[in-house]
Symmetry: C2
Subunit: 445 residues, 2 copies
């Protein structure tokens, strides 16, 4: 395989006290970070100092977790709403991209088009929308529904939602606003376009009351692993947030998506695939492993068992079993499902209940020295398993500065990462083209 | 009447190039302000330097105006979305309140509760929600409806929407998040409250995934002049954005609202009534009048006639009439309506068509020297026609600095306005109590 000449794309994932589920308990972590804007500002500035492509924030429009005893042991019950937080961060950063998550299942396209257009203007071309379809029924209950929209409908709605948003972003030609004081003409009426969308899920007239975003369209990010999810990604995603932990599976996904995109006439280079990874970094491998173990040891069994039960299915009751004994016999689930994968893993590695939940809770860690981390990034990148990473920092503050001070320079020395931002918009950082306006009769610039 | 011992409350109204409809054409105004965050940041900082209580931004969720020839002569076709803009401004200001408009007619309460709670945390207690019910059918068309929700339904929906939002803000006790690293307990499950709202318009389970806002509830602002509007205001508003131009009408409204509030058991001091006013300031009255005339002269007749026709009713065609002649005979509208008021005004003052549209376009100007402006503010305040003002600046930048440098000191010398912020939250600036949590069993702090 030829050595790649492009460079890694890196997202810095925001989380309150850190990405590790027990991070907030660790002495290095700030426990009351979730309501502290100064904390997020410091993270954003560290990420920008490290020349990250973007900040990334996930979202759920509900308090997620019914088992209060477990939920009350995490820092997940409170967090800033993504669009308000990213707008505030736009004002205190200069170059870094801002990827905010918003669901198509419980929103209206006009609001979403408008808020992201507004964020793109506020940030001078640094906005991105992570289009998700929502996963938990708790969200439905906050929006007048008894149950979550089913998977097929959800993706159909997402497709149409996406198309409406893009159409609204094209409401104005890039040069519609002439603002000619002498003639008194503020905009050219011929450069205004009314969408008049009428579809199965939405009826949206338009136009948007925000000028065309600086990026043309804010960058479109997507995450979804099903057939419908991949089909949507291949058609519209410019960044994919992936969740693979194993190299071969990541390579297969990468190849699949790029081929689908090419088959649809897209340039495969215009989709950047970024799996999530959590680096635990220290001067020696032993110290890094110890750091990881420290975090793992802070996971309360109540929480650990809950994570395991959620993965295996709500019906499984593990209380009363010896944590250091094996999993009880459990009926297999759907073939290839997450549940089955986990059961296989437990059998293959002969894991106790505690060991199994610690594996799940540990996520996708890379543990080692700065050059170990760089090696792992390089291996995945060169093996075409990804185009970069969404970096989950185990704890905040601190872990991002360690990464920026120790790993980024190694990646830079190897020519794998930028020495400085070359452009000013997120599209420029990512090497993505600026989309033409669908309504415009002129050739794209 | 006894002299008031309290002080004026002042809102600084954001507008792109200024509040005057032709502002953008004036040499003093920045024409391309609408997409320029630095411009809004400078305005916000000037307002904070002037110790204003809050910034205020209106909103419409549509491109408003069907007559493109007229619309294209205004700067109103593009503007930042309020919640994203105010979040960004939160990050670059320290003390000033942030009043963002959001409609109850085309939103979901969970999103609104969450975004304002998030803004209140981001700004450390400076958020306010201007609850509006929307006025134009264009908004309905962007949200899957053929026509605007009718007035009665709109207010019923608004009432319920409001109640749900307040309930969601009380999802957590103020001290729910204990974050005890030693025990591993992040929050106290007994201090979490699930709303379980099921009503005529909304079914919202809750709880919110944002901690209780620093202000308990962001400040509630309202604007609406009908019986239903006033009833809602008397029950829930803490600030009322009023639109009276004449002292007696303003006094009557003021007394009406305060009495209604008292009848509902509220302290009338806990509703601040702020009419909008546009100051044109110069060293002499003649210069101030000239400044005003300069702006008026920039109103294109196409735009002026449109404003007039919109007020009198879409059916009226004034093209072909002599602009400097009288209004043609027009059938009267509903008694007491805006249309009738305008027809009476034209008859009473014997105005030509041009003079009439200039009156309408001029809004509610106060024209004079800094001490004239202060006199006018003092007169309204002492006559209990208001508790302060929403100041509309005719042009940006510039007009706000003139106000801050020349009018604020006069108000301060007269003891009518604060020398500095005494508190840090908007509630503290406005002298409003922090609401208790409806679910909490403990006594309010
Ligand atoms: C890596 C990854 C991250 C995701 N992040 C979010 C998120 O932040 N919010 C959300 O509501 N859904 C999120 N999702 C859920 C997806 O939008 C989608 O609803 C879910 O994966 C089910 O679709 P699928 O069957 O195509 O995977 C995420 C999914 C993946 C794989
Ligand atoms: C001074 C004032 C300001 C208003 N600002 C807005 C606004 O920014 N956005 C909006 O949609 N409606 C706005 N409204 C409209 C009101 O929310 C309401 O829909 C309208 O006044 C009709 O209700 P009413 O008959 O009670 O006055 C405003 C109304 C007034 C009086």
């Amino acid at each position: 395989m030829t050595r790649r000449t492009d460079q890694l794309k890196l997202g810095a994932f925001l989380a309150n006290s850190g990405h590790h589920v027990a991070a907030w308990r660790h002495p290095l972590a700030q426990a009351d970070a979730s309501q502290d804007f100064e904390h997020f500002k410091a993270i954003a500035r560290s990420a920008e100092r490290g020349k990250f492509d973007a900040l990334f924030i996930a979202d759920v429009v509900a308090l997620w977790g019914h088992h209060l005893d477990a939920l009350s042991r995490t820092a997940r019950a409170e967090h800033f709403e993504p669009l308000t937080l990213m707008s505030a961060l736009a004002a205190v950063t200069e170059r870094i991209g801002l990827i905010a998550t918003a669901t198509t299942s419980y929103n209206e396209p006009y609001h979403i088009a408008r808020k992201f257009a507004s964020l793109d203007h506020l940030s001078k071309g640094r906005a991105a929308w992570n289009l998700v379809t929502s996963v938990v029924a708790d969200e439905a209950w906050n929006f007048g529904r008894e149950q979550h929209i089913d998977h097929t409908d959800r993706y159909q709605r997402a497709e149409e939602f996406h198309d409406v948003v893009k159409g609204l972003w094209d409401s104005w030609d890039d040069d519609a606003f002439v603002r000619d004081k002498a003639s008194g003409r503020y905009f050219d009426p011929d450069k205004l376009h009314t969408l008049n969308h009428k579809g199965a899920h939405f009826s949206v007239r338009g136009p948007l009351n925000v000028a065309r975003p600086p990026q043309g369209h804010p960058v479109l990010v997507q995450a979804g692993a099903s057939e419908a999810g991949k089909a949507l990604a291949a058609r519209v995603a410019e960044v994919i947030f992936a969740a693979h932990h194993e190299l071969p599976a990541a390579q297969a996904f990468y190849q699949d998506i790029k081929q689908r995109a090419a088959a649809l006439g897209r340039d495969p280079e215009h989709i950047k695939i970024l799996p999530g990874v959590t680096p635990f970094i220290a001067d020696t491998r032993e110290q890094a492993q110890q750091l990881f173990e420290q975090f793992q040891a802070l996971i309360d069994p109540v929480l650990g068992l809950r994570l395991l039960a959620d993965t295996l299915g709500e019906d499984i009751d593990l209380s009363g079993h010896d944590l250091d004994g094996p999993l009880p016999d459990t009926p297999p689930g759907q073939r290839g499902s997450r549940r089955d994968q986990v059961l296989q893993l437990a059998r293959r590695d002969n894991l106790s209940i505690r060991q199994l939940y610690l594996r799940l809770a540990g996520g996708n860690p890379v543990i080692g020295t700065p050059s170990d981390i760089a090696d792992s990034f390089e291996q995945w990148f060169q093996a075409r398993a990804c185009d970069g990473f969404n970096v989950f920092f185990p704890y905040f503050p601190g872990a991002i500065d360690t990464f920026v001070d120790q790993v980024i320079p190694v990646l830079q020395q190897r020519g794998l990462f930028r020495l400085d931002y070359a452009g000013s918009t997120l599209r420029e950082h990512l090497g993505l083209p600026r989309p033409a306006n669908r309504f415009s009769t002129r050739a794209p610039a």
